[in-house]
Subunit: 287 residues, 2 copies
C-alpha cells in the first residue's frame, strides 16, 4: 500500500473526517504533502498542531494548486458552495476530486454540473462519523475496517474510480459501490433516521416537566441519545439534502408508531411481544 | 455498611438484576444466607454456579420461609402473579418485601391489595438494566453509583422504607423517592420511550428492501439500537403496565415528528438547526 502515493493531497475541511484522512495518509506515507484548506484559520492551526496536515491555507486557489487529489470533507453545504464557486481556482493540470459527504445525490449533481476540462470527480462517503468532531479527534486509523461507499455515475472515469478506491483501501477501509441515489436511500435508514430518533428521544426528555430528570436516566437513554451531540451544522445539511428519503422513512416510522399506539391502547400483548422479538432477532443477526 | 445485615434474603428471579443483588449482598457480607427462588431450575443452577446465590428452590413456600427480606426481581407480570397467588406461602413472622420492577403503579396496587398481617411492602426500581440478561451477567458492583428509586405510598411503613433504603445504599446505590405514579411518568420518558425508539430504528432497517444493509450501518446506528436486544419478556411487561404514560409520550413524539415532516417538506433550515442545537445543548447539560 505504501507504493500507492500522491504528490500533493489537499483536504478541504479538517474536522474528524478530514483530519483523520490527513493523519492516515501521513502515517502510511501515502502522500508526499498534505495541505489543509478551510475557512477558519483556527481549525487549520489545530489540525496542523495534532499532525493531521503538513501545511494549511484559507485560500483554496493556493491550497488546490498542483494537487493531484483534492478531498472535500466539509459539511455538505460548504462542499456544494465550493463546487459552485471554487473550481475556477483549479489550473489546467488533470485533477481528481473526491468527497466525504454523508449525502451523495446533491453533491454529485452539483459536482458534475461544475466539472470541466481536466477535472474529474468521484463521490465517496466513509461511514466513520461519530459524535466527536474537530481536528483534535483525528485518528489515523479511523477508517480501518470501516466501510466507504463510492458512488460512481455514468460520467465517472473508471480509472479515477479505481484510484479513489485504492486510496480508501490504503487507509484501511472496505469499499462498496452504490449509485448516489441508492446510497442516499440506504443511509437515510441506516444512519439519518437513527440520528433523528436520538434527537427526538433527547428532546422528549427535555420537554418533560420534572425536576432533575438526569437523576433517572439509565444506560439505555445514554446509548440511544449519545449521537444527538453530533455537530448541528453537519447534520442540518445531511437532513436537508436527503429530505426525500428521510420523509419516506418517516412515513414507515409513523405507520409503526400508529400500530404501537393501537396495540398499547388495546393492551395487545401479542403485537408488542412480536415486535420486540423481531427487533431482537434482527439485531442479533447483524455481524 | 457491613454492620447492616439480614439473616436470610430470598430473591425471586435471578437474572441480571436479581443475580447482581445476590452477588452484591454476598460480596459485602450483608446477608448470612441468600436464597434464589424462581420458576426455572436451569436459571437458578446457573446463578448458583456464578456464586450469585447460596442455595435455590423452585418452591416459593420453601424459599420465602423465615426470610427477613424478599426481593422480587422477575419480569413485572411474574411479580404481579406471585403477589396475587404466592403471599399465602408466607408465615406469621414479620416479613419485608421489596421489588426491582421497572414499572411501579401496577406493582404497588397489587402488592398493597395482597398485604395482610405481618407483611410489609416497599416498592423499588434500581435503574441499572441493560441489554444483558441472565445470571451470567450478574455483577456484584452493578448498583455502584446507580440510582434506585423507592416509591413509598401512604401505606408504606417509614421504618421499612428506611431499611430498604439502607439495603440499596449498602449495595452502592443512590436512592431517590418518588410516588409510584410519578416514577412511571418519569421513566416512560427517560427509559421506556428510548427503548421503543431503539426498537423502531431497528425495525426500520429491517423493513428496508436493500441487500446486506449491515454493510452500511455506522456506529450511530449501533449506539441507538443496542438496547433493542433487551429481553422481550421483560420489556413487554414494562410497556404494557406503563401504557398510559407511554401513550402520553408517544403523543409528544408524534407532534415532534409532524413538525419535522413539515420542516423537511418546506426545506426549513431554521427549524432543523434549532432542534439539533437544542438537543445538543441539552445532552451536554446532562452530568
Amino acid at each position: 500500500m505504501s507504493m500507492f502515493k500522491f504528490k500533493k493531497v489537499a483536504i478541504f475541511g479538517v474536522g474528524l473526517i478530514g483530519g483523520s484522512i490527513g493523519a492516515g495518509l501521513k502515517l502510511r506515507k501515502m502522500a508526499q504533502e498534505v495541505v489543509g484548506v478551510g475557512r477558519r484559520l483556527e481549525s487549520l492551526k489545530r489540525a496542523a498542531a495534532v499532525g493531521a496536515i503538513d501545511s494549511y491555507t484559507v485560500d483554496p486557489g493556493e491550497g488546490f494548486a498542483e494537487a493531484d487529489l483534492i478531498i472535500l470533507s466539509a459539511p455538505v453545504n460548504a462542499v456544494l458552495e465550493l463546487l459552485k464557486t471554487g473550481l475556477p481556482f483549479l489550473g489546467s493540470k488533470h485533477c481528481l476530486i473526491t468527497d466525504a459527504c454523508s449525502t451523495k445525490a446533491a453533491v454529485l449533481k452539483v459536482a458534475e454540473d461544475a466539472l470541466s476540462g481536466n477535472l474529474s470527480f468521484v463521490g465517496g462517503h466513509p461511514i466513520a462519523g461519530s459524535e466527536q468532531n474537530g481536528p483534535e479527534s483525528a485518528d489515523a486509523n479511523l477508517f480501518e475496517n470501516r466501510v466507504t461507499v463510492l458512488t460512481p455515475t455514468p460520467r465517472t472515469d473508471p480509472s479515477d474510480l479505481k484510484t479513489v478506491q485504492a486510496f480508501w483501501e490504503g487507509l484501511g477501509s472496505r469499499v462498496f459501490l452504490l449509485s448516489p441515489d441508492e446510497h442516499d436511500r440506504v443511509l437515510a435508514t441506516t444512519s439519518h433516521i437513527p440520528h433523528l430518533l436520538a434527537v427526538l428521544a433527547t428532546l422528549t426528555v427535555k420537554r418533560l416537566t420534572v425536576t432533575n430528570p438526569e437523576k433517572f436516566l439509565g444506560a439505555g437513554f445514554r446509548d440511544v441519545t449519545r449521537i444527538a451531540v453530533g455537530e448541528p451544522s453537519i447534520w442540518q445539511d445531511v437532513f436537508l439534502t436527503n429530505r426525500e428519503y428521510l420523509l419516506q422513512n418517516l412515513a414507515v416510522l409513523e405507520k409503526m408508531l400508529a400500530e404501537w399506539k393501537s396495540a398499547l391502547q388495546a393492551g395487545d400483548r401479542e403485537y408488542v411481544r412480536k415486535a420486540l422479538d423481531e427487533a431482537k432477532q434482527f439485531q442479533k443477526s447483524l455481524p
